[in-house]
Each structure stands twice: as C-alpha cells, then as structure tokens.
C-alpha cells in the first residue's frame, strides 16, 4: 500500500463548506431524536408487545415488496433499456409517476383499482375471493407501488452502462436471448440491481401515506412502524421517538451491512 496522502492537497473550501452543511442538515434531525429520547424508560418501552409486532411486520412487508419490485422491475428496466418501441419515452416517464405522486394519492389510486368495488378488485373478489385493501398483502402492494421506481431507475441505469458486447460474445458462443440475460447480463448488472433493491427496501420500510390509505392501520395486520409512529405522535411523543429510533437503528444497521457486502465497489 502506498501512503494515503503523500502530498497534502488543499481541499477546495467551495466544495467542503456546502458538503459539511449538507451533512449537518441531514444528521441534525437525527441528533434531535437522540437528544430527546427517554433513555431511562427505553428498556421498558422496547418490551411492549406492539412494538415488536409492528417492527416485524415492517421488515416482512418491506422485504416482500422489494422481492415483488425485483421480480417485476428488473424485466421492466430491461425493456426500457434494451428494446426500442414506440412510446418508450412516455413509458419511462410513467414509471417515475409514483415518485412525484403524493403517496396518499397513490393509496387512493390503488383503492380505486384494487378496492372491493375497484376495476380489478371487484373481479379479484368475485373470481378468487381475494381482497387486498386493509390486509397485509395490501401493505406489500402499497409499498411496492411507491418503491418500484427506485429499483427500475437504478437497474435501467446499470443496463445502459453495461457493455453490450458481452451479450454479443455470449450469442456467438451459442446463448439465446434468455440465457444471455440470465447468465451474462444479470450478473454484469448485479451491483446495480443490489443498489436498486436496497433503495427500494429503504423506501418501502419508510412508506406511510399509501399504506395508511390503502391498507389502513390495524395493529398486527397492517400497522407498520411508520404508522405506529404516527399513531403514537397523537398521544405520546416519547413513544413516537422510541419507535422512530428503533426503525432508524434497524434500517441503518441492515443498510450498512448490505452496502459493504453487495454494493461495495468490486
């Protein structure tokens, strides 16, 4: 290893100053939470049964939503990156709609489609007896709706950046398009998929608006951590802080762990 900083370079203040301010701005609210946390009563509050239930539900639904997003979003990203079709620009814009749509509106839209009297919901109910709103699968659906763009955008970027000549090389070796996709393209863009999945998971974990609108707020069934925090805010600020801290700790731990393992530069 060479010595890290052999010749000391002056860091440009014009970059350093806003960078520091940016970091400060992002971390300050977290410090506020830590400062106001009721440390003495923390163990007792953690042991409350509702807390663990909500946490487990949050982690499960966020993970399932991420899996759903990967299963549907990777092929969608491939379509957008690799296939020329009329209206591709429009489709690309539509994919980002959940990013600009207020999540509550997203939840309402989901209700209009999947609700008991919705476009698809009434058919699902009549044909299969399946009801999505106000159920745990409904939570997964709401989270996936809001989080999917993060995955699609990340994977599409990775696909566009990948060297397509590897796919040509695979073709000359006898691989059809599907085999090329699974054996060459996907492994090449795996870091992009992992990064997208992590973003997607993080977004799903913090999802609030679409979930409460589409799935409601039933403890044990649809009450995820963000919903529990919101509910606690109305009655007990300290409980809300504790719940927020738990959510933060768990998600930061998982994200940091994943980052090093999957998203780290090769």
């Amino acid at each position: 290893m060479t010595r890290p900083v052999a010749t000391r370079q002056r860091l440009p203040l014009a970059l350093l100053l806003p960078a520091g301010l940016g970091l400060f701005f992002l971390v300050l609210p977290l410090l506020g939470l830590l400062a106001r946390a009721p440390w003495t009563t923390l163990p007792r509050r953690l042991a409350e049964p509702g807390v663990l239930t909500a946490l487990r539900l949050s982690l499960e639904t966020a993970t399932l939503a991420t899996l759903l997003c990967v299963a549907l979003g990777v092929p969608l990203a491939w379509l957008l990156a690799r296939v020329e079709f009329p209206g591709r620009r429009l489709v690309r814009a539509l994919v980002t709609v959940p990013l600009v749509l207020p999540p509550v509106v997203g939840g309402v839209a989901l209700l209009l489609v999947f609700g008991r009297r919705g476009l698809l919901g009434s058919w699902l109910d009549a044909a299969f007896g399946v009801t999505l709103p106000f159920t745990t699968p409904g939570v997964v659906l709401a989270e996936a709706f809001v989080a999917m763009p993060f995955l699609v955008i990340a994977v599409e970027g990775a696909l566009r950046g990948a060297d397509r000549r590897y796919e040509e090389a695979a073709a000359t070796l006898g691989a059809g398009r599907w085999t090329t996709f699974t054996h060459v393209t996907l492994p090449l863009v795996a870091p992009g998929v992992a990064a997208g999945a992590v973003l997607c998971w993080a977004r799903a974990l913090g999802e609030f608006g679409a979930t409460i609108t589409f799935a409601g707020n039933y403890p044990g069934r649809t009450q995820t951590m963000p919903l529990a925090v919101y509910l606690a805010l109305e009655t007990d600020l300290q409980a809300a802080i504790v719940l927020s801290l738990i959510l933060l700790t768990v998600s930061v731990t998982i994200l940091a762990g994943l980052r090093d393992r999957w998203v780290g530069t090769p």
């Binding site: 000359t172 070796l173 006898g174 060459v184 492994p187």
Partner: protein
C-alpha cells in the same frame, strides 16, 4: 477448383453512410487475413460473418449452408452459427472463472455441466493455462486472457473461427510470444480461419493468404509474397515499405507524373512501378554515371527509421528515400533543401495495374 471452399461469402452490408462489398472464400484449414486501415470495413465484415450485423445483399454460405442470404430471406442468428469469435479485447465474462468462460460455449451447445467443464479444462491445458482454471479474468495477464479467449472460441469447435485484432491489446514482448503460439493453434484448427488485423506483421506471420480491404472493398488479395512484391495501393505499399507509383508504361519506360522512369521489367499500358526507399540514392548535384532515373527533388521531411533516416521528397514524384546517418550528415539534409534523387532501373519493379 478441386473442392468448394468451406466459407463462400459475398458480404454486402451498410453501416450508416459506409458501404461494405467484400467477397471472401476460405478453404478448410486455411487462414486468411483481412488487412486494412482503420475504418476500411474489416470489423463490419467480421460482425456480418458472426451474425452480429445483417447483410443487405450478397450471401454467406458456410459448409454448404446458407447462414445469411437476404434475397431468400435466410438469416441465422449468431447463437445458431458454427462460428467462434475472439474479440479484440477478449470480452471474457468478468463474473466467471477462466474454466467457466471456456465451458460457456459447450454448455450452451448442449453439453452437460460436467462434460462442458471437462472439455474446457482440455482446452485450457492446450493453451497452457490448465493451472489457471479457477482464476477470474481480472487475475489474468493480457497474454493469458488472450489465450483463454482463444480457448473459449475454439471450445465450440467452430467451422469458422474469427479473430478480431487478436494481438492488438498486448504489449510488444507478449505479442511476440502470443503470436508464435497463436500460429500453432491456428495451424491445428481444421475449419476456416479469418483474422482481422491492421498489423501487416500479424497478417504475414499468421495467414496463408491476405485479403486487403480499403473503403469497404477488396483492393488486393494473394499470398504474402505476391502482395509484398507487387502492392497495388498506397496503403499496401506503405505496409510493405515500398514506393509505389501508377503511370503509363511503354516497354521499359513508365511515365509517372512529369517523370519517365526506366524499369527492368517491360510492361505496356497502365502500370505500377515499385521500389524500396533504400534504392533511392540522394546526391547534392546531378550525378553522372550509371543510374538512368535521376530527377531533382526537394526535402520535405526527415525522420528516424530503424538505424537509418527516412527522407520524404517532393518533386515530380513524391518518394521516400532511406539514407544512412553518415550520408545524411554529409548532405546536410534539412527540409526545403534541393537534392538529386537517383534510382537504378534494376531496383524497380513494374507490373500491369
């Protein structure tokens, strides 16, 4: 013709404004070099053969089977062609080991995992990399990666092997060793081999026959001896280090520009005259004596060329002359200086254009 060639192709393809029209025939076991400057259409030709670029007309027939014939709407995708490709920067799959890279082709063509790996190990042994089977491409040196790429292309036992600038990415020393080894493997390949290169040395060492393309067309083809002795374009002449001029011949005299050169060979009509730069002698004043071809010239530039200096001359004809440093010092060569150039008739070659 004794046997039909293994590859019989008339490649007509368009790439933007570029138009390719090249006929290629390669016999079994034959190695043909497609040689040409950058942008001549070599890579387009290779891509058309591999199925990565469709033909717009013409045909591509390999071992009696049409792989691409637009007029009959026949087109076979790359994965169904018995063609192996060694790409310029190898394109080894970075996420697979050397062994799995080589096993990729056999596996896709129906071998089960064990059989494919056994075959891959065999090929790695043949290129001398049996011990590096588990290494990832990034752990291999340039020369090793080239050999793995060759093994990968050969492992599918292609009827047609295509090599795109196989040595271009290597440093000079590695290139020498790899070239010798590549020659051995190409010699053992029973199918047809097409080598795309802009390096004349690679072409001369590795190929049985040269096909030279410029601006999408074949300008000359033949074995190394013919091409080097009788270049037909400036590009080829520069490749083989000859002065080349086109003029009108009447017996032993060829008129080129405003100058009539006396040649050893007798030809009539439009003809080429070629002579090596070393055959051009420079004199400070008009020389007396034997040389028949003498003309006044102006020094346009002087460069190092091996142990000698290469002098570019303007005048009735533009030629290159090689002189020793001692002679250059004696003449005091500098750009703009007027000298007399002389070429002996015996050192020229003339042939019909």
């Amino acid at each position: 013709m004794t046997a039909p060639p293994l590859l019989d192709a008339h490649l007509v393809a368009d790439r933007g404004a570029f138009h390719l029209d090249v006929r290629l025939r390669i016999a079994a076991g034959e190695v043909v070099a497609l040689l040409g400057p950058n942008g001549a259409g070599k890579t387009t030709a290779l891509r058309a053969l591999a199925g990565l670029h469709p033909l717009t007309a013409g045909h591509l027939t390999l071992d009696g089977v049409d792989l691409d014939r637009p007029e009959r709407r026949v087109w076979s995708p790359p994965e169904r062609r018995p063609v192996g490709v060694v790409f310029q920067d190898y394109l080894l799959f970075p996420h697979l080991s050397a062994l799995d890279n080589v096993a990729f082709g056999p596996r896709r063509r129906g071998a089960d995992r064990r059989a494919a790996r056994a075959r891959a190990q065999g090929w790695l042994d043949r290129v001398g990399l049996g011990g590096r089977a588990r290494d990832k491409p990034r752990q291999l040196s340039g020369g090793q990666a080239q050999r793995v790429a060759l093994a990968r292309a050969l492992a599918v036992e292609p009827t047609l092997l295509l090599l795109d600038e196989p040595l271009a990415a290597l440093d000079a020393r590695t290139r020498l060793d790899t070239r010798a080894e590549l020659q051995r493997h190409l010699g053992e390949h029973p199918g047809a081999t097409l080598l795309v290169t802009h390096d004349p040395l690679d072409a001369l060492v590795l190929a049985d026959r040269l096909v030279i393309v410029e601006h999408g067309r074949v300008v000359q083809e033949g074995d190394a001896a013919t091409v080097t002795a009788r270049p037909r374009t400036d590009y080829v002449a520069r490749l083989v280090g000859l002065n080349l001029h086109r003029g009108r011949a009447a017996g032993h005299a060829v008129t080129v520009g405003g100058l009539t050169l006396t040649t050893a060979d007798a030809v009539h009509g439009v003809a080429f005259v070629a002579f090596p730069p070393a055959a051009v002698a420079l004199h400070p004043a008009r020389p007396d004596g034997s040389p028949r071809n003498v003309w006044p010239a102006v020094v346009a530039g002087v460069q190092r060329h091996g142990d000698n200096l290469r002098v570019q001359l303007d005048g009735p004809v533009a030629v290159a002359a090689d002189v020793t440093p001692a002679a250059a010092a004696q003449l005091g060569l500098r750009p703009g200086q007027e000298v007399w150039a002389a070429v002996k008739a015996a050192e020229t070659r003339a042939y019909p254009a």
